[in-house]
């Protein structure tokens, strides 16, 4: 990127010209010109921080209201490199803002507060903040915030490389062709904001190609939707950059651009489905054929979810559709128009909607919804699923699919079903993201508990509640964990696990929708997502859940939440269930969730509500427990989940070439970065 651009000269004009492309860390002027957005309702602190940051030679934009900050971020997708936000704000809880940012923009976020209580700091960690500063903030503390940006980018690269399995070929050349890529990318930068910068960056990038620097193409919502549509059309298996590029037919876009984006997308999906390879089997059933279409369900789901998440739009309908699809039901719902619609959001997603959607999807697949949940009464599930779908936009589709085939399917389903909700959700985004969540809710559950997270998300999205938000999320994540582990789930294998991945995706709200659509489009999609399979989806799910959980606002948006909750529960249940002891909590949840799981089968989510509440409670417990349990389990599965930390993960993977989980990972010290296992992750006591 062009940090060098950032240099005073090139930096283009103040504000955000963002000459400094986050992607490029290698500039001799870096971190000068780092574009910081600082949000604090306390004017005194805000002014002081601004002055301090300017003293550090950063480009500062200050804002005293979270909503305004969010709209500023949305308006200028690539306009900021890092966000610093206060925890206690009157119009929106800082953690909620954190989640939104993670989902939609995947930027590193630093939390700060005069409150230094351990639980608050922990909340920051679990919500994915990359750092937590105690007020009063000293300038020394601000001098090094650039490290978070670099780290994220680095991880992004790493993810890309890791996930590059599918497209190694693309990857490598991509790196070397960065220069070209960047140039073209820049030109093709839809946002088009920084042409000048782009050029400069190109130069820089050429110099640094194959380093961290990556040309930054702005993947706008529309663009991403086109991308997702193309991928779906081709089928995830066959989705190679070249073909995608051709299908997209976007002038100025290079194969490298597409390749890197695809990598991220895959990672994202992987994360969503994360859970498991086991789940892949589940996933298979996901899309409409019980068999393993999805072999790599995880991946598939992940994709879906991601897409959805990204799109932020995972409307409930999409999810529902997906689920239906997953379940093998007639795609009545799957009309999915989704694919494109939500795809947009992939990267820009407005809200955590996706997450939920994803969760739902997973569910949908399995025809036998609750296999995963041993002993968990699954009766409810179908309904829950239905609920999910219906829930406002929520996850209605909660992909309870989980059950049978591993959640993975669900996500896909979800996406498909999304179209309708999506619209809805989108609208709401501003309002409070409510709509989005619902969709996601549906899906996430599948993934190991991601669903739960998703649910939470929905809840949050809907209500825009900050408060409820966080806790929920936490639960979800927790839920995921154990779930993943239980790959033993009969038949379902870890759909949950996968679902988790999906869930994470769901978080991305918009993404789910897209994902769903994609999934539909490409039956083969899932299978190709090998990465997912291998990875310990389990892990990813867990993480996803976290994210998901966050969004999962207990508050509920009636349907969405419910679906979400249920799902989460189920997710948890599934995951940890089968063999693990996690059952305890899961059990409770599972029951609730089971209902959800069956979502795939049933679309009426009447129960959602009840379940939601129930779930909330359950989730709460479970989440915490799950986490604990998870860790040990994670070990074995590892591999995939490293990125799932926090909602940001999803987005980061896809959206920018940022390290996806840089922050959360660091925070969580999750070991599995590369092995995807949460080995080190000691989330034991993550207080929500």
């Amino acid at each position: 990127m062009n940090l060098s651009n950032g240099k005073a000269a090139t930096m283009s004009t103040a504000s955000s010209s963002a000459t400094w492309k986050a992607g490029d860390v290698v500039s001799d002027q870096f971190p000068v010109g780092l574009r910081v957005l600082v949000v604090d309702d306390d004017l005194t602190c805000l002014v002081i921080l601004e002055k301090m940051l300017r003293r550090c030679r950063y480009e500062v934009t200050k804002c005293n209201r979270a909503e305004i900050a969010l709209s500023m971020l949305r308006e200028k997708k690539n306009g900021y490199d890092i966000v610093i936000s206060d925890v206690h704000m009157p119009d929106m809880d800082g953690f909620k803002l954190l989640e939104h940012i993670g989902l939609e923009m995947d930027l590193p976020v630093i939390m700060m507060s005069a409150d230094d209580g351990q639980n608050v700091v922990m909340k920051g960690v679990t919500h994915g903040a990359c750092d937590y500063l105690i007020k009063p903030v000293r300038i020394e503390a601000l001098k090094n915030i650039w490290q978070h940006v670099v780290r994220k980018k680095k991880n992004e690269w790493k993810d890309l490389e890791q996930s590059g399995s599918v497209e190694e070929g693309d990857r490598q050349p991509k790196a070397s062709e960065d220069a070209d890529y960047s140039s073209s990318a820049n030109e093709g930068n839809w946002k088009g904001s920084k042409k000048r910068k782009d050029e400069e960056e190109e130069t820089d990038e050429r110099d640094d190609s194959s380093t961290l620097k990556k040309p930054r193409v702005v993947w706008s919502v529309e663009l991403h939707q086109q991308f997702v549509a193309a991928v779906n059309q081709l089928g995830i298996d066959k989705a190679v950059p070249k073909k995608i590029l051709e299908l997209m037919n976007v002038p100025g876009l290079t194969r490298e651009n597409v390749a890197s984006h695809l990598q991220k997308y895959r990672l994202y999906l992987r994360r969503l489905s994360g859970v498991s390879q086991h789940q892949s089997s589940l996933n298979n059933s996901f899309i409409s054929s019980p068999e393993a279409n999805f072999g790599p369900m995880a991946s598939l789901n992940g994709l879906d979810l991601q897409t959805l998440a990204v799109a932020g739009q995972l409307p409930a309908q999409s999810l529902a559709t997906l689920q239906a699809a997953g379940l093998g039901r007639s795609p009545a719902k799957s009309g999915l128009p989704l694919p494109l619609v939500d795809q947009r959001n992939l990267f820009s997603f407005d809200g955590p909607k996706m997450r939920f959607g994803e969760g739902q999807q997973q569910h949908v697949n399995s025809s036998k919804p609750m296999n995963l949940l041993h002993g968990i009464p699954t009766t409810v599930e179908p309904k829950q699923l239905a609920n999910l779908h219906q829930s406002a936009q929520s996850l209605g589709g909660v992909n309870l699919q989980f059950s049978a085939h591993g959640a993975q399917n669900n996500p896909l389903l979800m996406q498909m079903a999304q179209p309708q909700s999506r619209g809805h959700i989108l609208n709401e985004t501003t309002g409070g993201h409510v709509p989005r969540l619902p969709s996601s809710m549906g899906q996430p559950i599948v993934s190991n508990g991601i669903a739960s997270g998703v649910l939470g998300r929905n809840g949050i999205a809907d209500s825009g509640r900050g408060a409820g938000y966080n806790p929920v999320l936490q639960n979800s994540s927790l839920l995921n964990f154990p779930l993943n582990h239980t790959s033993e789930l009969p038949g379902n294998s870890f759909s949950i696990g996968s679902t988790s991945g999906l869930s994470s995706l769901s978080s991305k709200a918009g993404f789910l929708e897209e994902v769903n659509s994609e999934i539909k489009g490409s039956a083969g999609f899932v299978p190709s997502y090998d990465i997912f399979n291998d990875l310990n989806q389990h892990k990813s799910n867990e993480w996803d859940i976290q994210n998901v959980g966050m969004t999962f606002d207990a508050s509920q948006h009636s349907n969405s939440l419910q679906g979400g909750l249920d799902i989460s529960s189920s997710v948890l249940v599934h995951q940890g269930f089968s063999s693990s002891q996690r059952n305890l909590q899961n059990r409770n949840q599972s029951q609730v969730s089971k209902a959800m799981f069956s979502v795939g089968d049933n679309t009426d989510h009447g129960n959602g509500q009840n379940i939601n509440e129930h779930l909330n409670t359950l989730l709460g417990d479970n989440s915490i427990r799950v986490k604990t349990e998870r860790i040990p389990d994670a070990g074995p599965q590892t591999d995939f989940f490293h990125e799932q930390f926090g909602q940001e993960d999803l987005m980061s993977a896809l959206l920018k070439q940022q390290e996806d989980i840089a922050a959360p990972e660091d925070i969580a010290a999750a070991p599995s970065e590369n092995d995807f296992g949460f080995d080190g992750y000691s989330m034991d006591n993550i207080p929500v």
């Binding site: 301090m52 003293r55 007020k135 009063p136």
Partner: protein, 155 residues
């Protein structure tokens, strides 16, 4: 009084404020941030703080006067005041806020009211002290001198 004397006086006064706990190192940070491009930075920020604090103190008074006190609300006000006072280095105000929060947790209305009085008093004290300090600075600048840099002085 000549400029040199004024400057020395300013230094002594500043030191005393730190010694007596009215100000802490955060205030120094503010002073360091002031430069030619922003020569009135400290005065501006401090003024912002006092506007904020007066408003918060009024809100607190009102909240504690309610027949049924909403402690969560009171606590959130105190938290805000704690945050902003710590940002400018008004450490006695900050400490009073910390004590105040404890009473909020205990839901002790009387304790809270007492703390409110304490906070108001500290707020007024540091306001007067800073006004004095700023006046000295104005005089120094008016006399053609420059405000000493505490860091340089080795404080």
């Amino acid at each position: 009084m000549d400029v040199g004397q004024m400057r020395r006086q300013w230094v002594e006064y500043t030191k005393s404020l730190f010694m007596e706990g009215f100000l802490d190192s955060q205030f120094e940070q503010l002073q360091q941030l002031q430069d030619e491009s922003n020569p009135d930075f400290v005065v501006e920020v401090v003024s912002l703080f006092f506007e904020d604090s007066e408003r918060l103190l009024n809100d607190l008074t009102r909240a504690l006067d309610q027949p049924s006190v909403d402690f969560k609300l009171v606590d959130s006000y105190v938290h805000q005041l704690k945050g902003s006072s710590s940002s400018i280095g008004a450490s006695r105000v900050k400490n009073a806020c910390i004590a105040f929060r404890n009473f909020c947790e205990e839901q002790n209305v009387e304790g809270c009211r007492r703390c409110l009085q304490q906070v108001k008093q500290e707020n007024l004290l540091v306001k007067n002290k800073l006004e004095t300090l700023f006046r000295m600075e104005q005089q120094i600048v008016a006399a053609g001198g420059s405000i000493p840099n505490m860091e340089q002085i080795g404080f």
